[in-house]
């Protein structure tokens, strides 16, 4: 296999096209990446990779183009990353809705998330966007501060559908709730009050609690084992828990107890503190 741009232009063999494109994708040379970006933006090229029916019914990662994008994701040099980001502005690439979804997911490797990535995600997080779940999933894979700050803004956006916010907290965020960056975001949202107070309890619930009844799907999320959280995360769990129990009036029945149990689980029990009210429950 040779890295020949002529193959990208002339071949009709999808596998040869894909393999050649992947040779360009691993290259740290900006010129090679420019060639690749040009072809990934070409509908003629994309149509040769997979039949039209595939673009109708496949999952994004099943497309042959996904193999090329994955190779770009796997590179750590700047030029391939620039190609990924460049695809956000590619009219041809963006004309396939499955490729939009694919790119939203692929940009999760852009850590810390750069402004073009944030802008692309923000565009597809608009109210009523069919891609919103994909963006939030990518944010919680990325888990860099700029990405998580975007999530904070979304939670605070009154135009964003409130029902989706709840679902995102309980699904995408809950799956990563041992992560120190995610917990730092929760700390900002609750203790620094970067989001409306009405969301403080739902956030605490997603951090400390888990209920199968929240989900109607067969594939319910699995929260990570709290005991495996790094020390940095346990510190934040404790700060959040103390803040909730000491300063908040928790409306949801049992949430205070749930928080205490979680803190006890990680060896940060506060059972002997705060006599009075629900917070005094001995567990």
């Amino acid at each position: 296999m040779i890295k020949d741009p002529a193959i990208l232009r002339t071949s009709n063999d999808p596998r040869e096209l894909c393999d050649t494109a992947r040779l360009f994708a691993v290259s740290p040379d900006p010129a090679d990446q420019q060639v690749l970006l040009q072809h990934l933006g070409s509908t003629e090229f994309l149509d040769k990779l997979d039949p039209a029916a595939a673009y109708q019914v496949f999952q994004p990662h099943q497309l042959r183009a996904a193999g090329i994008v994955k190779t770009l994701m796997d590179q750590t040099t700047p030029a391939p990353r620039e190609t990924l980001i460049g695809l956000t502005q590619s009219t041809g690439f963006q004309s396939y809705e499955l490729l939009i979804e694919l790119l939203i997911r692929a940009l999760s490797v852009d850590r810390p998330a750069t402004p073009p990535t944030i802008a692309y995600w923000e565009k597809h997080l608009a109210p009523q966007s069919v891609y919103a779940d994909n963006v939030v999933r990518a944010i919680f894979i990325n888990r860099s501060k700029p990405a998580l700050q975007l999530f904070e803004r979304v939670i605070n956006d009154p135009l964003q559908d409130e029902e989706y916010k709840y679902a995102w907290l309980r699904d995408m965020m809950l799956r990563q709730r041992n992560d120190p960056e995610v917990l730092a975001m929760c700390e900002r949202m609750i203790i620094d009050k970067t989001v409306d107070p009405s969301w403080h309890e739902p956030i605490l619930e997603a951090v400390f609690d888990f209920e199968p009844s929240w989900y109607q799907t067969c594939r319910k999320p699995k929260p990570p084992l709290r005991i495996l959280a790094p020390t940095e995360s346990k510190d934040i769990f404790e700060r959040l828990g103390r803040h909730a129990v000491n300063t908040m009036t928790l409306v949801k029945p049992g949430l205070g107890l749930t928080i205490r149990l979680a803190l006890k689980e990680i060896g940060r029990s506060i059972d002997d503190e705060n006599a009075g009210g629900e917070a005094n429950v001995v567990v």
Binding site: M1, D13, P14, R15, C18, D19, R22, L23, V26, D50, P51, A53, A54, Q56, V57, F58, Q59, H61, Q62, L63, R64, A65, A66, G67, I68, V69, K70, M73, R105, S108, V109, Q128, S129, V130, Y131, D133, N134, I141, D161, E162, E163, Y164, Y166, A167, R170, D171, S198, W199, P202, D209, E211, P212, S213, W214, Y215, Q216, T217, C218, R219, K252
Partner: protein, 648 residues
């Protein structure tokens, strides 16, 4: 008779899609062996994608293993390692193996193996790459262990008149092993099955009759396509469609394999059931009689006559046929986006529903297209004039059909639903990629509470289902102890149902304007009617990738019949939830949580696991070239039959 050769076949390999670990196409090479002998050619390259199912040609992907020199305690090891070839590097996707123990007497052994867990790193979840299905059958057996001896001997002495015992020509007494397992296909190892007695040396190995196997996609299945149902429907003896409606009872195993099955004689031991037609042979048809509420009937399989020795037992409910109407609603996106009715045709949807009907019929329920054609929400019959209960319409927001999130109280299921009618909402796709029974109203239990935040309702905690109990033998699905020799007598089993939703309480605010609008357009329509919404999200793109031939492959990975079959099982699984059933088995999880419905028992490895693991409709034994999940069992039948949408 000693088994001297076995055939080991690698039937299929499924490329797992549980996490999006494989992007694009992969080039896979299968390195399979049995007792060190190669199976197939590792040089063969398969271009695969996530979610594909490779069905392997028997002629190429099987081998005969000579086991004549094997001794007690020995085994044949079956292995598969898959290497993904890439011009950057070749990746080992993991190895699976299983040991087939001496004396290799199982005539139809299906072994499903899940590849080991690999690390996904920061950007991907940990993942498993594939699931392999091996089939081991007997290729050769001899009358004696001596290779120069006779090649066949009589295995039964049938004295004149009624016989009460069996013997070999040497005079060794034995009792033939005959089974009528209620789960078809029969649960595969390591699932629990009652241990079979060891037969005298020289007898032919056992047989799993074809009728007890599900090996090919049914084409337009009849209502009684699935044998050994949990319910015998009450039918008129003059019913013109009796042949397709009467329950089919079949032998699922007999040994010796050359037993004269024409001498198998069936008897109704108790209960209002009557055998239709012949009472002899490996398969009979049965109808229920009378008009009573569901009653248990017991059957015996005897040798030759009503007074011959009892070889097997079976039991099933006898009950009235219930009916439940259904609608299929295709939800097309706005502005020509996200079309559903151009991705799947009405005819395909109808074919899928025939599979669902056949599965649900096991419980004595007939699904009928909603005879009322009154529409709402801009729906029209698709195509016009069809009588299959299939409609299409355009949604008001694309989020109601594209990437629909199951965990948000559904708008999609409201379109063109009619209270009391099952609603299969055919959306374009879902955020979780699968189907989901999101409106399980009317079933027993306590719905989760509702949290209201900023004027919007959300599912809260506290939902619980109900329980249903059943004791006696044979136990439901032959859960251990099954009451089938060599198991002890069956004991009380307690099934947990899925928690209900309560649309009226949970979505009062959300549905308010919808109710008002429908009450204006189509009076009368009340808020209480939302409580009779029985519905699921069904993404039309699910499984469609199997039908796309992608170069260099010359054909899609599945036939249309296999696709239809899998879709039918998928929707029947969701229907099971709508009617109250929770999960059985553990969804192929390697670290098995127990079944959601509590129906577990120790498997052959001594591990508590859902039973059956893959063959019940509430397991995940589908999405396969040969799907397994077909069965509804005794205790589940009594749950689904109590659904308020079923009329008798």
């Amino acid at each position: 008779m000693p088994v001297t050769k076995i055939k080991v076949r690698l039937v299929s390999v499924e490329v797992l899609d549980d996490s999006d670990w494989l992007w694009g196409a992969g080039e896979w090479h299968l390195h399979a062996t049995a007792d060190g002998r190669p199976i197939g050619r590792p040089t063969t390259e398969f271009a695969v994608r996530s979610g594909d199912a490779l069905t392997l040609a028997e002629a190429d992907w099987s081998t005969i293993v000579d086991v004549s020199a094997k001794a007690p305690g020995s085994f044949v090891e079956v292995k598969l390692k898959i290497i993904e070839h890439d011009f950057f590097s070749n990746d080992n996707l993991g190895e699976v193996k299983a040991r087939i123990a001496y004396p290799f007497a199982n005539p139809d052994l299906n072994v499903n193996l899940l590849s080991p867990l690999l690390s996904g790193g920061w950007f991907f979840s940990d993942y498993r790459c594939y699931r392999a299905h091996f089939k081991i059958t007997i290729a050769e057996e001899f009358a004696t262990a001596e290779t120069t001896g006779p090649t066949a001997v009589p295995v039964r002495r049938n004295a004149a008149g009624n016989v009460s015992d069996f013997s070999t020509i040497k005079g060794t007494a034995f009792t033939p092993r005959v089974e009528v397992c209620p789960v078809v296909p029969v649960p595969a190892p390591p699932a629990h099955m009652p241990t079979r007695p060891v037969m005298p040396v020289g007898l032919a190995a056992g047989v799993v009759p074809v009728a007890a196997q599900v090996t090919a996609a049914p084409s337009a299945p009849t209502l009684n396509a699935l044998p050994n149902p949990p319910l015998i429907p009450i039918l008129d003896a003059a019913d013109p469609d009796l042949a397709n409606r009467a329950a089919r009872l079949v032998l699922t195993y007999y040994e010796p394999g050359n037993l004269d099955t024409s001498k198998i004689h069936w008897k109704v031991l108790s209960g209002p059931a009557q055998i239709v037609g012949s009472r002899n042979g490996p398969e009979i048809r049965v109808r229920g009689t009378g008009n009573a509420a569901d009653t248990m009937a017991e059957f015996e399989v005897r040798w030759e006559s009503d007074t011959g020795p009892v070889l097997a037992t079976y039991r099933a409910w006898v009950g009235k046929l219930g009916t439940i109407p259904y609608r299929v609603n295709f939800l097309n996106g706005t502005g020509g986006n996200w079309p559903t009715s151009t991705i799947m045709s009405s005819a395909e949807a109808h074919a899928i529903m025939q599979v669902v009907r056949a599965i649900v019929y096991q419980a004595g329920i007939i699904m009928v297209p909603d005879p009322t054609v009154t529409v709402s929400d801009g729906a029209t019959l698709f195509p016009p004039g069809n009588v299959n209960g299939i409609y299409q319409m355009t949604v008001s927001s694309n989020t109601h059909t594209r990437n629909v999130n199951h965990d948000i109280i559904s708008r999609a299921t409201r379109y063109n639903f009619r209270p009391g009618v099952l609603n299969f909402a055919f959306v374009h796709s879902t955020s979780q990629t699968n189907a989901a029974a999101v409106d399980r109203n009317g079933i027993a239990g306590v719905a989760s509470k509702t949290q209201v935040l900023n004027g919007k309702s959300h599912y809260a905690a506290g939902g619980t289902g109900s329980t249903k109990q059943l004791d006696g033998s044979p136990s439901t699905s032959w859960i251990k102890p099954s009451g089938i020799p060599s198991d002890a007598k069956g004991v009380m089993q307690t099934l947990k149902t899925i928690e209900p939703t309560d649309r009226v309480a949970q979505a009062t605010t959300m549905d308010k304007s919808y109710v008002t609008a429908r009450n204006t357009a189509l009076v009368p329509f009340t808020a209480a009617m939302m409580g009779r919404l029985y519905a699921c999200h069904c993404p039309v793109v699910w499984g469609r990738n199997w039908l796309v031939a992608v170069p260099p492959a010359l054909a899609p990975v599945m036939t249309n019949a296999q696709y239809t079959w899998n879709c039918g099982i998928n929707l029947a699984h969701e229907l099971g939830h709508i009617l109250g059933l929770a999960h059985r088995g553990s969804g192929w999880s390697a670290t098995a949580p127990l079944s959601g419905d509590g129906m577990d028992c120790a498997n052959q490895n001594g591990v508590m696991a859902g039973h059956p693991w893959s063959e019940n409709i509430m397991t995940y034994g589908y999405g396969l070239a040969t799907p397994l999940a077909h069965d509804i069992d005794l205790i589940q039948a009594s749950v689904v039959r109590a659904h308020p949408g079923v009329t008798y």
